[in-house]
Assembly symmetry: C2
Homo-oligomer: 274 residues x 2
């Protein structure tokens, strides 16, 4: 093995190896390589050609990330496979994951009119005097998955304030029921952030856990903005996946050899620039 | 204002308002609404129709996120506009941001052969016995922006080990120079995580800061995997933006009214599903 060792000291070197094993194990969890059964330490020691201490160090990192759970007498197990959310055309959250309609529920926390402010007027490009502010939780398999705070034009979204299912309603359903509203284009800006105190409580995670922050702008067919939303998605549970091609027409010809994530048909998706 | 107040207590209510103002201010920073000059507190108090204490609470949250900086005698200023990275076809990092070639440099930390492990063999679908492991830093305007750890097939990537510019080399340049390697399709899986000790040192951030973790798989035209990479991108500095359309042909017809991010031409980009 000596030809593979860098000149670093042994301790740092072990930490480096543990990080590499951690990254590869996390990949395997994301790709569902283990099918729910996390392999025992000695198998990992063999497969990754590292010491048991290195494997343990890698596992400890994944425990602290919330990917693995370690319990006395049970050993190391998967917390749950993270949900890899793929954004593709015209499908809301519930329709984009397998069995979604049954697995997802919503909880409305706040639903009220708020006065307009210059920033909202600028974004929505309208003289709208009030906006509907809608804060809600999306729950997947009984576990909080994300919190969303949405601004919707007041006149358009006013029916939501008295909607019979307003306590358990998703945005895609809401849009389907609001008269004259057809979402067309969605822009998302994704960042990593720490959960603030409120998001941590709502998501059931420690304060200062990592969350995927999504700023979402949904536009109607006439180009007008119909939602500006801020989402905080649980870091260890949520991943966003997407593909790009380096040449024209590749979408039709690509093969997926060795790829655990086969591409789907979704022509016309597009990226924007700042 | 009473019709806009929920039934919550006053303190919680102020925290809620501060969170809303924070989200909208962060949006404005991302969209470069302020052009480098962050507005004074009294302007924000007026614009957002909230108390000065609420504005201060929102600003404090943005300071702790690393978006704003507060200095005695200077006031509250922008740290820097976050870099919004848009992935579109065939452009490497340096070519995807304005003036990129001049603004970006690289620093190689580790570049060595490592033995194959089952996980890599499975992903790369090859009998490759060794891989090139390449850990490097991307630096934007003199500030560390991301660390990347890449695995490349040993035979293919061996020339990198003795490349004359191996200490300051980007992946896109490397691929352009390796014989017979043309990247075709790139899949990225994005998660939020906390920076580990090493990533924090390399990125120049506090340990346990939020980082955007990207798992990247680059495939060649024949469908074979040519890079498996793990990136940790500074949370407050880095955002990923992308757009989706809800109907066929929308990419050609969409308008951008009110959108601070005009779409670009990049037909054929595609999303995958797990």
């Amino acid at each position: 093995m000596s030809r593979y060792n860098s000149a670093d000291g042994e301790r740092r070197s072990r930490f480096e190896r543990a990080r590499r094993v951690r990254d590869m194990l996390r990949s395997q969890v994301l790709a569902d390589d283990f099918g729910g059964d996390f392999p025992p330490e000695d198998q990992l020691t063999r497969e990754y050609q590292v010491s048991r201490n290195t494997v343990r160090e890698a596992l400890t990192m994944l425990v602290s990330e919330g990917v693995l759970r370690r319990r006395r007498g049970v050993g190391t197990t998967l917390v749950s496979s993270p949900l890899t959310r793929v954004y593709d055309r015209g499908r809301g959250f519930a329709d984009s994951i397998s069995g979604g309609r049954q697995r997802i529920s919503y909880r409305t926390i706040t639903l009220q009119l708020v006065p307009s402010v210059p920033m909202l007027r600028r974004r929505f490009g309208s003289a709208e005097r009030e906006f509907v502010f809608w804060e809600r939780l999306t729950i997947l398999d009984g576990e909080p998955n994300a919190t969303w705070s949405s601004y919707l034009p007041g006149q358009l979204a006013a029916p939501l304030l008295t909607h019979p299912r307003r306590e358990n309603l998703g945005l895609d359903e809401a849009f389907a029921e609001l008269p004259g509203v057809r979402p067309d284009r969605t822009r998302r800006v994704v960042q990593a952030r720490l959960a603030d105190a409120r998001a941590a409580v709502l998501l059931g995670v420690e304060p200062d856990s990592a969350v995927l922050h999504i700023e979402r702008s949904i536009y109607a067919h006439d180009g007008s903005l119909i939602e500006l939303g801020y989402g905080s998605c649980r870091g260890a549970r949520y991943a966003v996946a997407y593909e790009t091609y380096s040449r024209s027409g590749a979408a039709d010809e690509s093969t997926t050899t060795g790829d655990p994530y086969p591409p789907i048909e979704s022509e016309g998706d597009q990226f924007g620039v700042t």
